[in-house]
Amino acid sequence: MTIIDNAHAGSVSSLGTPRLLAGVDQVGHVDAAHHRALHGDPVLRSRAWLLGAMREVNLLGRGGAAFPVATKLEAMPTGSSTAILVNGSEGEPASRKDRTLMTAVPHLVIDGALVAAHALDTQVITIAIHDPWSYESLVRAARERPDADAISVVRTRDGFVGGEIRAVINGLNAGVARPGGRRHLPHTHGMSGRPTFASNVETFAQIALLTGMGVADYARTGSPVEPGSSLVTLLGDVVRPGVLEVPNGTPLEMLLPGQADAPVLIGGYHGTWTRAAHDLPLTRSSLRAAGAPLGAGVIARPFPGTCVLSEVAAVSRWLAAESTGQCGPCFFGLPALADDMQAFADGTGSEAQAIRRLEQVRGRGACAHPDGAVQFMSSAITTLADDIRVHRLHGACGRPPSAVLPLPRSAR
């Protein structure tokens, strides 16, 4: 394992040879000259070439939905009315991978944006970032090079829901970062009403690697179904906490040594608790098939001998507070559910009531936030059934609270 230390990112490392994070172990931050020495100039390819290459390596979006990038690109019209949106808002508090990427290798992100813009024959590129260090890093990187004049780097508002692509677009268009309802899709109504090719920062960095390396080299690592590598954020009782670049297909057992059936959270705070992670390979398709999608790339395992229910309750409270208050079932339902989750930790919870409420909230909002929160809470109830029973019998479990899931300071 290559271990890389980066002041703003905590621990950063890779299994195998780093690609996205190449050079980071020597210098922490890869500047323009060093980036050129490692990767050369961005390799600009036609839309047709890029579509073919993306299909061959089965490139999936790195933001959470893991949508095939080629399908998205193919739906875009070409020409100067099309916009490129690089989403670096990373609203997920448990994830650090996008911030790490932006502070350590900003030029790879810019290369990817230029490759996509070239393929779509446009110059309209926006990089939207919340984190101040990442923002600084991209602004500085764009100034360091002559080919980034057309790129505008903008700050976005805080928030989990505010980091969702449609909310980012609304925020940039109207100044209010909240989702505009399920009917406003970015590929038709995006930036300033333009058709917009929008994806996560890591997706763009992968696009830059793909044209730079070519299909054969890109596919030399990873799994046959999903060649290449991914960035993940590991938390708690894991091989090494922090941001890790891993070849796709790596057995999760390698990231989670020991404790084969301990509860693991996969994906983030819209993610899934499971005790069956150990046997799975890290590919987006196999994790989705197992009912625990990789989402924002977070993999967290509480330490043995700690109380996980109390931490689940704290995250549930935070999820409730993140509702933007536009949709009744989300605005009223999530706080009621957060109370239910607290009640489990206090030993007074009712599974029947919580499950009934979960069903009442699922699917009843304008964005994916209530569904994601429901996924987090319902999988916790199933996975932590034994803990819930112990708390009910004894009023608590007597263990120290688990503290591996970070929350913005205001929520604790």
């Binding site: 309802g181 949709c327 009223f332 009442q360 009843r364 304008a366």
Partner: protein, 63 residues
């Protein structure tokens, strides 16, 4: 086939829809409409349209 859906960013939980179309819509514990089966049977289409027109928030869609 006609179906009904709620625009959640508009719905204010007045519950009028549940009164006018109780065959299809009930209310959750917070007063917001619960639709078990969005497809509207032919004999209820007229009532569904009336409920949509009566919704003060223009939140109930029939299409």
């Amino acid at each position: 086939m006609t179906s009904i859906a709620v625009d959640w960013t508009r719905c204010e939980g007045h519950g009028i829809c549940a009164r006018l179309l109780h065959e299809k819509i009930s209310l959750d514990e917070w007063g917001f409409p619960l639709i078990d089966e969005p497809e509207v049977e032919p004999h209820l289409v007229k009532a569904a349209r009336q409920a949509a027109m009566a919704c003060p928030a223009l939140a109930l869609r029939v299409e």
